[in-house]
């Protein structure tokens, strides 16, 4: 295994404040340098990505008076994949008087992440969560309301309080619209320049600092250089490396991977989240998996037939022949156990032959009890659009027949390493939202991704970025003719030319599909040393074949969707190998990461705190050279590390 990577010096978060945890964010904000309103228009910031993190950051920085350039690959910033989040957003508002508090949200998040997130970051997240709801409501986000006009909440997997705010099943869309509208307001005001249908393909590093990016205009094919004082990546997660995932088709790792190759450490790449409530795969043609909000687990009951390979209509299976396995195994949380537990339990049931639907890869999510108890009207109110979506995709009516669900790749907790200021190890490069690694640990609780994206974009970055901008302005003599800028452009051109020149026989998608299958099999829900080693060998061989046999049609000087995908899949290959190396070195089961070699007698995940209470931050050392591991040791002063138990 040692040949696969080397070990470097530990990495330390030099911006992490100490003192009482409640006062750390306040202390950091006070210590950070400010820039007077009159000087802000002379500071330029590039933001890559326009989802909840990038959109809110762009809008807030623009509003503060900075000059911002925002880039996205879609045709409009309102289409970022944050839009697909359904269930809700957490906030420690304690509107229900049920014992919630900042401390409890922080505690739940650290515990839910299996103690692999940073205390200070998570506490800050819980602190600003309240302000996010205030901000969104002020923007006109139509959250669910009680009849008295006050905000409604619901509970989500992994917690015992009701702190999740929601907008029917479209919370992501509505929050994104809030951020997008604020962004459009700044575009009109001239503080933000929006570049849609532009893809970032390289970071420009000058004298050790990120000073700009190289992008491709996806309509004309033109390669452009953009320089700024600082670069912010808000480009989302890399779940699409698995090919079949709940991510939008365009989600990719290119922006963060290119930054990684330029010096930004990549942290915990193997921490990918499997979501338990997806619509199962129906056939070979499948291009993506559709998630249904796990809020369904509030009222839906999950079961499988006791009898193996029971092909009966579920409505004909009597109660005595149903196994409500989550309620049986985890009586305290029942169907609301965290995502990783629910996912693995479903897989275990299917592996044991109790699965239902095509290929036996599904379990029932049954609303019959809820329909009896609440009535159809209430169920429609709460979940109507999800039911409609399910019916559209499967052709089955979930009001009549139980839904079938199966786990799928949904979110990535790993990402570029950042310090407390959300700055990567490459100075001047900040990373926010899903693109960084910082807040979720080895697992992500429901309704916390939207919270993190907006916390970073509205409240954290606009405060910490100031400190950097105040002391490290772009030297005035630097422009697009700088040798480093030109070199980055040449690298981009060379890469595009190389892909177009292969003229092989296999499509980009066929490689992506094969790569995804290897990862899902060996680096998905369950991993073993043997499987991971096999995966690394397979990925290397497939990558070699890719660079000699992929067929990319057309030219670089036009709208060319095949070329776009080809560049992304090329980066996925490199990431996939690092994911397997990371998974292989972490010999514990942790969060969504279950190692067969590390389990309790009862078959539950066994974490190994004495060896692995750290962030694994990987350094790129060259194409033919193994990555270097830097460990950031995690300190927990305010929570006791306990084995997670949901029984």
């Amino acid at each position: 295994m040692s040949a696969l990577f080397t070990v470097g010096d530990p990495v330390v978060d030099t911006q992490a404040p100490d003192g009482p945890i409640q006062g750390r964010w306040d202390a950091r904000r006070f210590e950070a340098s400010l820039i007077s309103p009159a000087n802000r228009r002379r500071r330029f910031v590039i933001v890559v990505g326009s989802g909840l993190a990038g959109g809110s950051a762009g809008a807030t920085l623009g509003e503060a008076g900075y000059r911002v350039e925002v880039f996205c690959y879609q045709d409009s910033p309102r289409r970022a994949h944050s839009i697909a989040a359904q269930g809700g957003i957490n906030a420690a508002k304690d509107y229900r008087n049920d014992g919630d508090s900042i401390r409890r949200l922080y505690y739940d998040t650290v515990k839910g992440g299996d103690y692999r997130a940073r205390e200070s970051n998570v506490y800050r997240l819980a602190q600003v969560s309240e302000a996010i709801i205030d901000q969104a409501v002020a923007q006109g986000v139509p959250f669910a309301r009680e009849y008295g006009g006050l905000l409604s909440t619901r509970s989500f997997g992994g917690v015992q309080v009701s702190r999740t705010f929601y907008a029917r099943g479209q919370t992501g869309q509505q929050l994104l619209l809030g951020a997008y509208q604020a962004l459009e307001r700044q575009i009109e005001a001239g503080t933000v320049a929006m570049h849609t249908r532009h893809e970032m393909l390289e970071v420009i590093v000058i004298e050790g600092r990120a000073r700009g990016i190289v992008v491709r205009d996806m309509v004309t094919g033109e390669i452009e250089t953009h320089l700024a004082d600082a670069v912010v990546l808000a480009s989302g997660g890399y779940g699409n490396v698995f090919h079949l995932s709940t991510n939008a088709m365009g989600c990719n790792v290119t922006a963060t991977w290119r930054a990684h190759r330029k010096g930004a450490l990549f942290a915990n790449p193997c921490f990918t989240q499997i979501h338990p409530t997806c619509i199962p795969v129906s056939g070979e043609h499948q291009s993506k998996l559709t998630l249904m909000s796990e809020s369904l687990r509030n009222d839906g009951r999950i079961w499988v037939p006791v009898q193996k390979e029971d092909a009966r209509d579920p409505r004909e299976i009597p109660e005595s022949e149903r196994d409500y396995y989550l309620e049986r195994q985890y009586p305290a949380f029942g169907n609301l156990v965290p995502r990783d537990v629910a996912s693995r339990a479903a897989k275990n049931q299917c592996d044991a032959g109790h699965g239902v639907g095509p290929g036996g890869r599904g379990v029932y999510l049954d609303f019959a009890d809820a329909l009896d108890r609440l009535g159809r009207r209430t169920v429609e109110d709460r979940y109507g659009n999800l039911f409609d979506m399910y019916q559209k995709i499967t052709g089955e009516d979930p009001y009549q027949v139980p839904m079938r669900i199966y786990p799928a790749i949904h979110y990535t907790m790993g990402g570029l390493w950042v310090d407390y200021d959300l700055q990567s190890s490459l100075p001047g490069l900040f990373v926010i939202g899903e693109a960084n690694f910082s807040d979720h640990g080895a697992n992500r609780l429901g309704a916390s991704a939207l919270m993190q994206g907006l916390a970073d974009g509205y409240f954290v970055l606009p405060n910490t970025l100031t400190d950097y901008l105040a002391s490290h302005p772009l030297p005035p003599e630097i422009d697009a003719t700088h040798p480093e800028a030109q070199r980055a452009v040449e690298d981009v051109r060379a890469r595009i030319d190389a892909l177009l020149a292969i003229k092989g026989s296999r499509s980009v998608d066929s490689f992506h599909r094969e790569l995804g299958a290897i990862l899902w099999e060996h680096c998905g829900m369950e991993r073993s040393a043997e499987g991971l080693q096999r995966a690394i060998t397979q990925i290397r061989a497939l990558r070699e074949e890719y660079w000699s046999d992929v067929r990319v049609t057309g030219t670089g000087a036009e709208l060319n969707q095949t070329l776009e995908r080809a560049g992304r899949v090329a980066d996925f290959f490199e990431l996939a190998e690092l994911m397997c190396i990371d998974a292989l070195h972490r010999e514990e089961s942790c969060g969504a990461h279950f190692r067969t070699e590390s389990q309790t007698e009862g078959g539950e995940a066994r974490r190994i705190d004495e060896d692995f209470t750290y962030v694994a931050a990987w350094e790129f050392t060259g194409d033919d050279s193994p990555p270097r591991l830097h460990r950031e040791h995690l300190e927990f002063e305010h929570v006791e590390l306990t084995q997670r138990s949901y029984t």
Binding site: S56, A59, T60, E63, D75, S76, P77, R78, R79, H81, I83, A84, K93, A131, I133, D134, Q135, V137, A138, Q139, G140, P142, A144, R145, G149, L150, A167, Q170, G172, Q173, Q174, Q181, A182, R185, I187, E188, T196, A248, M249, G250, G283, H285, S287, K288, T290, L291, M389, K392, I393, G395, Y458, F459, S507, R551, T553, G554, E558, L559, Q561, T562
Partner: protein, 250 residues
């Protein structure tokens, strides 16, 4: 099942386009319409031909990026459905299907089935927001919202900006899109201070982008995948007239 797809091919915005027939086999009823285009593109790639460019992203019916005119109907024959959520169980074996881009003066074709819908963003930029500076927001529950107002706002906010309403309208009007945003923000107490100026500014931008006027034909709402009702257009007219009567000229 097997199909013949007649697809609009156009190399770039200045090029002349034409319909080109393609045969596609191995189609299962569970596939989405876009997955059929994926299959066709794999086929074209294997033959060394340029694949068909089409916009799509989430494939969950929410991002609003996909959309083509299928046999003359925006997003195809199923109501309340985006193209990515249109499944082949609604088609017949050996059917011949026309596939065209959104057609509207304000939506130039970029390539094949891909059009430029940035005019919709510019309408939002002109006033489709509530000015709420980050950090200045009052406590969320200090502004109660009546349930019916919240529901009305939500129904309007469900618009996904796909542009199907424009493609379906004989006038190429974006009135349903406009009405949805005006209704969303105008139904909430937070949206009242800017209600007049918003309605006027957005309506003017709508016209400036080259979208046509509304003549209450209703094609827009018939094809809307988000179910935005026609009365939201009336809301625009009412808000604009009210604003003008109160002296809110641009």
């Amino acid at each position: 099942m097997r199909l013949t797809l007649n697809i609009w091919r156009q190399a770039h915005s200045e090029a002349t386009g034409r319909m080109v027939p393609y045969r596609v086999g191995d189609i299962s009823p569970e596939m989405s319409f876009l997955e059929v285009l994926d299959v066709l593109n794999e086929q074209l790639t294997a033959e060394g031909e340029d694949p068909v460019a089409f916009d799509h992203d989430c494939r969950e019916g929410i991002c609003g990026m996909c959309g083509v005119v299928i046999d003359g109907i925006a997003h195809g024959p199923e109501s309340l459905t985006t193209t990515c959520q249109l499944h082949m169980r609604h088609f017949e074996n050996e059917q011949e299907i026309d596939v065209e881009p959104w057609r509207a003066g304000a939506f130039p074709v970029l390539k094949d089935l891909v059009v430029d819908r940035s005019a919709l963003d510019r309408i939002v930029a002109s006033g489709g927001f509530i000015t709420a500076q980050t950090g200045a927001a009052p406590e969320a529950n200090s502004t109660p919202v009546a349930r019916e107002d919240a529901d009305r706002a939500f129904d309007a906010a469900a618009c996904i900006s796909c542009g199907a309403c424009v493609a379906a309208c004989p006038n190429g009007s974006a009135s349903l899109f406009l009405g949805a945003k005006i209704t969303h923000l105008g139904s909430l107490p937070q949206g009242q201070p800017e209600r007049d100026s918003r309605a006027v500014a957005m309506s003017e931008q709508h016209d400036a982008e080259g979208f046509g006027g509304c003549t209450q034909i209703g094609e827009c709402t018939a094809v809307c995948p988000a179910g935005i009702p026609l009365d939201m257009i009336s809301q625009t007219s009412s808000d604009v007239l009210g604003a003008l009567s109160r002296g809110h000229f641009s």
